[in-house]
Symmetry: C2
Subunit: 456 residues, 2 copies
Amino acid sequence: MLFNIAAPTYAADKKPNIVFILADNLGYGEIGSYGGGLTRGAATPRIDSLANEGTQLLNMNMEAQCTPSRASLMTGRWAIRSGTHSVPFGGVADGLTRWETTIGEALSDAGYATGYYGKWHLGSHDGRLPNDQGFDEWFGIPRTTDEALWPTASGWSPDIMPPEKTMEGKKGEKSHELAIYDVVQRRLIDAEITKRSVAFIEREAKASKPFFAYVALSQPHLPTLPNPAFTGKTGNGDWADMLAEMDANVGQLLDAVDKAGVRDNTIVIFTSDNGAEFVKPWDGWSGPWRGQYFTALEGGIRVPFLIRWPGKIAARHVSNEIVHGVDMFATLARIASAKVPTDRPMDSVDQSDFILGKSEKSAREGFPIWCADRLTAVKWRNWKMHFIRQDTMFDPPVKNPVPTIYNLYTDPREEKPTADTWVVGPMLKIVGAFDQSVKHYPLILMGTPDPYTPKK
Amino acid sequence: MLFNIAAPTYAADKKPNIVFILADNLGYGEIGSYGGGLTRGAATPRIDSLANEGTQLLNMNMEAQCTPSRASLMTGRWAIRSGTHSVPFGGVADGLTRWETTIGEALSDAGYATGYYGKWHLGSHDGRLPNDQGFDEWFGIPRTTDEALWPTASGWSPDIMPPEKTMEGKKGEKSHELAIYDVVQRRLIDAEITKRSVAFIEREAKASKPFFAYVALSQPHLPTLPNPAFTGKTGNGDWADMLAEMDANVGQLLDAVDKAGVRDNTIVIFTSDNGAEFVKPWDGWSGPWRGQYFTALEGGIRVPFLIRWPGKIAARHVSNEIVHGVDMFATLARIASAKVPTDRPMDSVDQSDFILGKSEKSAREGFPIWCADRLTAVKWRNWKMHFIRQDTMFDPPVKNPVPTIYNLYTDPREEKPTADTWVVGPMLKIVGAFDQSVKHYPLILMGTPDPYTPKK
């Protein structure tokens, strides 16, 4: 099933374009190739086509909530290092410091045209927006989609909490606000994200530079309200209509790649920022796993991940090897011959050999799992050890009297603690290595303003 | 995706052979094409090949426990009609009366060579064994696999409860006992079932008659102990080794079909008798559904179902249409031009148009669900109404104060009752039609001895 490609091929060739599609709170179980689609009342043939034409990971992991997972995707570092383990309230600086090197900056420096479309949530003020952090242009929302409920919420007024606005901006210029992001705009935004992404792909495919389109779709994050063009389309309710909309939007992106004639030289990735939405009535489906976002359970961190690169990445290949979103930085950097920072701890592992089929094994055996700033669990091979118990985002986290260890092969729903205490060794090694790195490179605290420079 | 075939084709052609493979308590989530396999520590490529070369049903349903599901598969009638809704203890007659027409008898009468290999559980005494009920020959166990634990159980002695024995028999002859079915034989039996099934396929493929091989594998029913040849093979424990063994056994059956040169004229079906095993440490995986066998939850009744018939049944086709195990009788009878009884209520619906791609819709919209003799729920389209709440096989069934209705699209785990009370109408119609039929054709009571003839 795996291709064997000589090492220098993808470095020496023309650099591939990258279309990175990131859904928001889309659970493991939602799309057809992961057991959803039809069982959710809406087939997802366009998204599923990536499984048919590319590689499907069954064990792709992300941090457990939006801002941290997006931070680790963007920086190749655990979010707790960059002060983005949670969303700060209270007027302090949110998001990534300018000091972080983003994948946008790395690819931009490597000669890529970079566009960001969709939800950011990594800094909502000037200096920390996508066009300040390595992207040539952007459109989207600086924060997140539950804020779309504010303008029509009883008791709310803008002087208490200003509404979120859609924005756009270009590198070197100040971003500007477009419209209040309310429930009307919430229904419309993915169409606009898709339209602008398609325009970027069409335009940049004609240019001499390779391109990197970061398409951060807003669905299905609460409130899960589909575009009017899809409302009622499936006859199976908002959720199914949303899936149909998402599938059509991904289809438009795939069509744009084809029409631009760059299919063979374009990597397309479809994944989700974390596990399933939990807030009712918009809660999602973790498929076979237990737990939803904001938890360290598999349902909180295991996400769909499909990657296509015709002729380079095996088609119809399925793997249960552990990969983490944080690995995207080093992996894409390697493929794009971009630089990975060497002046800071990088948690990103280069998975290009694995993804390109030169190794059947992932370059990673495990990882620590934080929920906010709490080291909640460690995953290693097919085991998981929970230091803290938290079953849902609304349950208080409680320290386990003894850490609970689960065998994910025999107990995928993490319900029956095992006596496999030998796995504590390699797991604590993972934690120890992190702790050691923090001694040399202290964590950037949440709310840290720019300019930030690490103490020598 | 669907083939269009003129109606008389499969009736006029040479009748197809049928290899019907039935796993025992294999949950929806276990095999690769349903999200298991690699995630369980053992790939299942041979079983999955049937999804690739055939049609995969996402909404195949069975009765909730072994004897009833096997009875409805065998008779095309809800088990409660034939006195097989539960397993009787206490020396009364168990299993199906001779009066029932089995699919073995129907296909035998239609000119098929019929072989039964594996677990029967539809009558453990002479007159009710497979060779008495339409099968030319059989090998297997008359009852079930937990009895394999008896001979080594502390306190047990054979004068208290005689041990189960493996048996074999031929039509017209008395079956005879072979070996005590203990944990040693339990590990070996699927290899023997497979070996005898392969021999039957090889032999009958050369004969002029079409053949029907009913391969009732014993795995993974508790105790889930793999064959010694597979013990330790995956390195991931007994369960994964069992999956590897099952996949290899199915592979042997597929190879036998190929080697016999009858691939194109043979229907191969792989399914399970009911939802996942529950008894620890041998509990299985319902995949994304809640509940396990003995419950009316989706995890109790929804099973994997793959069907291959090259050129006749669409390859790589996936459907979420509702089909029920009880439909196998009328469907296989139609395809084999066999007779369906007309002197009794038949619950079996002919699904051949759906399976053969002449209709995108199943011929069934819903069905009642009994747990033992309790009408526990009704499923209709994407809704389910539970009259009785029972979350596990060990929980007491409790009547719901009001029936709980779940939308399986938006709430696949049946956790959030809806107010969609309009679906009560079509659901009660299903129940009413059954009740009406019982007035004319009283239920055969559990323990009814032969000869049985219905009162006029």
